[in-house]
Symmetry: C2
Subunit: 124 residues, 2 copies
Amino acid sequence: MSLSDFELEVMQLFWVHKEASAPQIHKLIEQKRAVKYTTVKTIIDRLEKKHSLKRSRTEGRTIFYAPISEKQTVSTPLIKEFINKVFLGKSRPLAAHILEEEELTLEDIEYLETLLKERKKDLK
Amino acid sequence: MSLSDFELEVMQLFWVHKEASAPQIHKLIEQKRAVKYTTVKTIIDRLEKKHSLKRSRTEGRTIFYAPISEKQTVSTPLIKEFINKVFLGKSRPLAAHILEEEELTLEDIEYLETLLKERKKDLK
DNA sequence: AGCATATATCTACATTTGTAGAGATACAAG
DNA sequence: CTTGTATCTCTACAAATGTAGATATATGCT
């Protein structure tokens, strides 16, 4: 099942934190922008209904949730879809854009170079 | 103004064809999936209202449209946004995913290698 | 035990999006 | 010049999404 932007944002936090309660997630997001607790809780409820999150334990009346879907399982199809939508299915222009325009450290570049070297080796 | 998936799909066709009528766009999309003419026309109307398309000329009662927004102007922020949403703002993991997992020809790989070489040169 | 408060639950609502029908009408073909 | 048809215009609507209020209530503190 596909995730909305907000749902994905919340999932990202769960992937980082492994487990969290709605109040915790709310506090994290609130640091970036104004949002009411109930809004965040609604998103979490929807993620639970979609089986992306499960209740892991409770502490007092506070429910803790943990991710069911794994990050990679979610992001891989998103990448494919993005390439289709924005680059007519061709990965090279997206790769080129990133390598040319997006922020990369020297280490990033060198790492990516080794990936290409590997890839080339396997091709031949 | 942001574009919906369907709007973006239509814009892609305009970027390729430079100019087209609603019936033409409809026929193109219909080759991939069932969709009514009026649905496509609605999307084109919305794109016109958003100033992404303009009427370029008419032929009989058929209106031709041409893109106003350029492809790069639209895609660059989409990439940024995608990296933020899916990779917490870091481009390296997206680049790595593409270089490792997505389809690339030998030429693609060699081209990307030159980009990295350039990028490294400029960094140093 | 009583109470304040944090948390949960449930409901609501405007906007965006994909989808398309109904009806109007200009043009092409006879 | 009539008429069929392609195209346009206008309106509608359900689902998804972001947003949050109202209300209930379990807990922890005094």
